[in-house]
């Protein structure tokens, strides 16, 4: 065990853990966050996604001790009580079915739009390719990303 320091949603936390512990479990079980979700533990599905220094990162395969940057989780996306425009687009498009995968969808889309505010359809598909949804809300997700990009450009 050793003390690991994490910056999450603007706050610093110190946790006494085995430093190889995947970030996912620290966020969920030590910090009590409910955005990042366990889907595979293998880096294959994206459910556990968090944003680390602007990059969509799979917390299930990231050791806590190596998550040195500024971590944003789904809970941390809203600013000053205002939903992120992407979250609002998700509501406007009524995207989720069960919703379990949506953490990864939204955060991956956020990082994508931050890199590329006006992605083409092909770029959206490519950028989102590795985030799986078993309820098959893909069409809605893509519509919400396009809506958010459009509205940001207005």
């Amino acid at each position: 065990m050793s003390v690991v320091s994490l910056r999450v949603n603007g706050k610093t936390h110190e946790v006494d853990i085995d430093p190889t512990t995947p970030l996912l479990y620290v966020l969920r079980n030590d910090l009590g966050l409910q955005g990042p979700r366990f889907g595979c533990g293998l880096g294959q599905c994206g459910s556990c996604t968090v944003i680390v220094d602007g990059v969509a990162t799979r917390s299930c395969i990231t050791p806590a001790s190596r998550a040195g940057g500024e971590i944003t989780t789904l809970e941390g996306l809203a600013k000053d009580g205002q939903l992120d425009p992407l979250q609002q687009a998700w509501i406007d498009e009524q995207v989720p079915q069960c919703g379990y995968c949506q953490n990864g969808q939204i955060l991956t889309a956020r990082a994508l739009l931050d890199r590329n505010p006006n992605p083409t359809d092909a770029e959206i598909r490519e950028g989102m390719e590795g985030v799986l949804c078993r309820c098959m809300t893909y069409f809605r997700i893509q519509a919400a990303i396009k809506r958010a990009a459009r509205e940001a450009g207005e």
Binding site: G32, R125, R134, C135, M136
Partner: protein, 792 residues
């Protein structure tokens, strides 16, 4: 543990509100909900939890009491309590809409509590797409009854006959003098209704009042946004997998490395020095490792050394040999053929006879979030936090399994990943309860990715043999359908003798379930038919990862694939456009089926119109000198599911060089009768289609002859963003071709559009390429092989 127990907001709100009122307190006590309220406030200290749990037992809320269903608060809002669950199709929102209409209260003045066995009446949870179709009725009737009672109270209060009163948004007023009014809250807010209902069973529950006619419904029919979407999007939702309890520990299962292996010994020293290690629990072939922390349990489960003895005989053939095995197996049962006319004579006399075999492999649920549950054994009770869509069944099954009185077991239903049928959520719930019972501490069980993919229940594999006869004019004179399903010992929901833990412990029901090989559900007028279904068994039926269970429309996608592909084959031989051919088959004059045929024709026409279908036979005539790898095509399939009819048209691009099939466009004309929430319905229909598309293009459980080898998203691919169509049109036919029936009831919508998907894609591939794919899924290597075989 620094998280307190959080319950769904609606439940917390209801309880908070209720706590202001002493009279409601009694109601809540009897329903057990107060117990949760104590728990909510008490857990930070930890100690009062025991006291909260001691407040059990948890008797069933009485469905014959109006107070069980509806709680009116002093602030003139209401909470509805229903015994259903919502897997994300928006049924919770729809229930509220239906009840609001009958109660005459604004939607945003209400909340809903679902599926928690001690707080809501037992409507069985979800399944079979019957939420609106069946379970909506008692909800509507009890809400109508509450309105009737309130009107009578208002009549007394306002000293005006009921006939002269009007109701709007939970306020009753005198028609001629609207200033004279009284709110629901002033009449009973915070009080019991104390009204007894009637009915032999929960579906029959009714009071004196009748429900409103369809033309008086105002909230029903609106696309109200789902209340569960914002918390799923902003991270505020507490899922079943998020619940933390003081003293809670983490378990991981250790499955037999080979199906049917027998546990010989466990070397506890392989793990007992590991940090956080608590215990290995094993009984029979069931093994779990328990640790303080989650990552510790994962590590310990990986490190545990155990000796397993493989079975003497292979538990199943390898997936490559499955269909040959199924075709040559002696069926364990054959259903009496559905016979019409004389198919043998008609085939003998037919001008042309066509034969084809079709195959569909096992397909799994493979939820995005593997199965999980948390069980709390405090104070001789058992509380299970679960997303099981049949929470009541989980409660009953666990009570039997642990030999506990039913009223000491409760299930608190919370959101979780997809629940399209009999998922492993059942299994995880039993495992958590068993381990918590053994340990005397709250235990959280979380399945791993490979466990979920390999061991969840499977939709049965099918083989089909079809024969059809055409006369000289291209009319279908005979059809023979012979299906074989590997569905022996199909497991039910939450059965204490078939859940995986029970099977691994050696517990067996007296007889394996017989399983089912279903027959098609179209309404074609074909004069001579024989439809046969046979169930075959794999060598190993217990403890097997290839156990079958209900997966979204349990047999429909398979059966419809074979049947609607074959109808297409007949149309192609007859050189008739596939839609014209189907319409021809529906224009029979069988009186009993007229209504069903009329609705079939209406959806087929609506789909054709939305698509812009031009009439021509399949396959698409190859354009001379067609350049480039992309071949375009279109395909249609139509089907009934109970009262719902769906017609789907798929437009594909087949890449003849890579074999890749992209479904570029989808149109579905869908008729499920009365529509409660159009947007919610459209999205459910759309996602059910894409789930079907995933099964058409990707999904297949593969195995060698000792274990499942589809274990993750690399070895078990699923639909992805890049597979998404460019456009999807859902046309709500909603109706009834007969305009004199304004009260067409609602039918289910969770599965109807899932059903024709594999067939529509197969027919489109044929249209594009002239090559008929008779084995799903249509992964690129299979498509490429078929294209190459046809060109040589």
């Amino acid at each position: 543990m620094n998280k307190t127990l959080k319950l769904p907001q609606a439940l917390e709100d209801a309880l908070l509100c209720a706590n202001h009122s002493t009279s409601r307190r009694n109601f809540l006590k009897s329903s057990g909900a107060l117990v949760i309220a104590v728990g909510v406030n008490a857990i930070p200290g930890g100690k009062v939890l025991a006291q909260a749990a001691a407040a059990g037992p948890y008797p069933d809320p009485d469905f014959l009491e109006l107070d069980t269903w509806i709680l009116l608060h002093p602030d003139n809002t209401a909470t509805f309590f229903v015994g259903k669950t919502d897997g994300g199709q928006g049924t919770g929102t729809a229930f509220r809409q239906m009840m609001c209409d009958e109660l005459d209260i604004a939607y945003d003045k209400t909340s809903l509590v679902m599926g928690s066995t001690d707080a809501t009446p037992d409507q069985g949870g979800s399944g079979g797409s019957d939420a609106i179709e069946r379970d909506g009725w008692p909800m509507r009737r009890v809400a109508a009854e509450a309105r009737r009672v309130l009107l009578e109270l208002a009549s007394e209060h306002l000293d005006t006959p009921v006939a002269e009163l009007a109701v709007s948004n939970a306020t009753v007023s005198v028609r001629t003098d609207p200033a004279k009014s009284v709110t629901y809250a002033e009449l009973v807010g915070g009080q019991r209704f104390d009204i007894a209902l009637q009915g032999d069973n929960i579906n029959a529950t009714r009071g004196v009042a009748s429900v409103k006619p369809v033309n008086e419904l105002r909230v029903v029919g609106q696309s109200i946004q789902r209340y569960d979407v914002p918390p799923k999007v902003d991270g505020s939702l507490t899922w079943a997998s998020d619940v933390k309890l003081p003293g809670m520990v983490h378990a991981r299962n250790v499955r037999p490395p080979v199906a049917g292996a027998v546990l010989k010994s466990i070397d506890a020293s392989s793990v007992d020095e590991l940090p956080g290690f608590i215990q290995v629990v094993s009984r029979g072939n069931y093994v779990a490792v328990i640790c303080e922390r989650e990552e510790q349990a994962i590590a310990a489960a990986r490190k545990l050394q155990a000796k397993w003895e493989p079975p003497a005989e292979a538990p199943f053939p390898a997936s490559d040999d499955l269909f040959n095995f199924m075709r040559s197996a002696v069926p364990v049962s054959s259903r009496e053929p559905v016979l019409q006319g004389d198919p043998d004579a008609a085939l003998a006399a037919a001008n042309r006879v066509i034969e084809a075999d079709y195959e569909v492999p096992f397909q799994g649920h493979t939820a995005i979030g593997p199965a999980h549950a948390l069980a709390d054994p405090s104070n001789d009770q058992m509380t299970i936090y679960s997303n099981d869509m049949k929470s009541y069944g989980l409660r009953n099954g666990v009570a039997k399994f642990l030999d506990m009185p039913r009223d000491r077991v409760r299930v608190i239903y919370m959101d979780g990943p997809q629940v399209y049928g009999r998922t492993a959520a059942d299994d995880a719930g039993f495992e958590a309860a068993f381990l918590a019972h053994e340990l005397g501490r709250p235990v959280r069980v979380q399945w791993t990715r490979d466990e979920e993919t390999a061991w969840d229940t499977k939709g049965p594999a099918y083989t089909f043999r079809m024969r059809g006869g055409l006369d000289a004019d291209g009319n279908v004179v005979a059809l023979e359908y012979d299906a074989r399903a590997a569905d022996y010992n199909h497991v039910g929901y939450n059965e204490p003798d078939t859940v995986l833990i029970a099977q691994l412990m050696g517990i067996r029901p007296a007889n394996p379930a017989s399983g089912n090989a279903a027959t098609p559900s179209s309404h074609y007028a074909i004069p001579n038919q024989r439809m046969t279904g046979r169930v075959v068994s794999l060598p190993m039926i217990w403890e097997t990862p290839l156990r079958t269970g209900n997966l979204r429309d349990p047999n429909g996608p398979q059966v419809t694939f074979a049947f609607e592909s074959f109808i297409d084959e007949l149309a192609a031989v007859a050189r008739v456009d596939p839609i014209d051919f189907r319409l021809g088959l529906l224009e029979g004059s069988n009186e009993g089926e007229m209504f069903l045929r009329a609705r079939s024709i209406a959806t087929i026409r609506a789909a054709a119109e939305a698509y812009g279908w031009d009439s021509r036979p399949s396959p698409n005539a190859p354009v001379p000198d067609h350049q480039g790898p992309i071949l375009p095509g279109r395909g249609i399939a139509y089907t009934y599911r109970n009262g719902t009819v769906a017609t789907t048209i798929a437009e594909v691009e087949v890449n003849r060089e890579s074999g890749r099939v992209w479904v570029k466009r989808l149109v579905c004309a869908h008729d499920c009768g009365l529509v409660v929430n159009p947007t919610g319905l459209r999205h459910t229909v759309e996602c059910a289609m894409l789930h079907g598309l995933s099964r058409a293009l990707w999904e297949e459980v593969r195995f060698d002859n000792e274990k499942v080898t589809s274990v993750d998203w690399a070895s078990h691919p699923s639909l992805r963003h890049s597979d998404t169509p460019e456009s999807i049109d859902v046309v709500l036919v909603n109706g009834d071709p007969n305009p004199d029936r304004p009260d067409l009831p609602p039918y289910g919508a969770g599965e109807g559009s899932h059903k024709p998907m594999i067939a529509a894609v197969a027919n489109a591939i044929y249209d594009a390429t002239g090559v008929r794919l008779r084995r799903a899924p249509f992964r690129r290597e299979r498509v490429l092989a078929a294209l190459q075989a046809s060109s040589t």
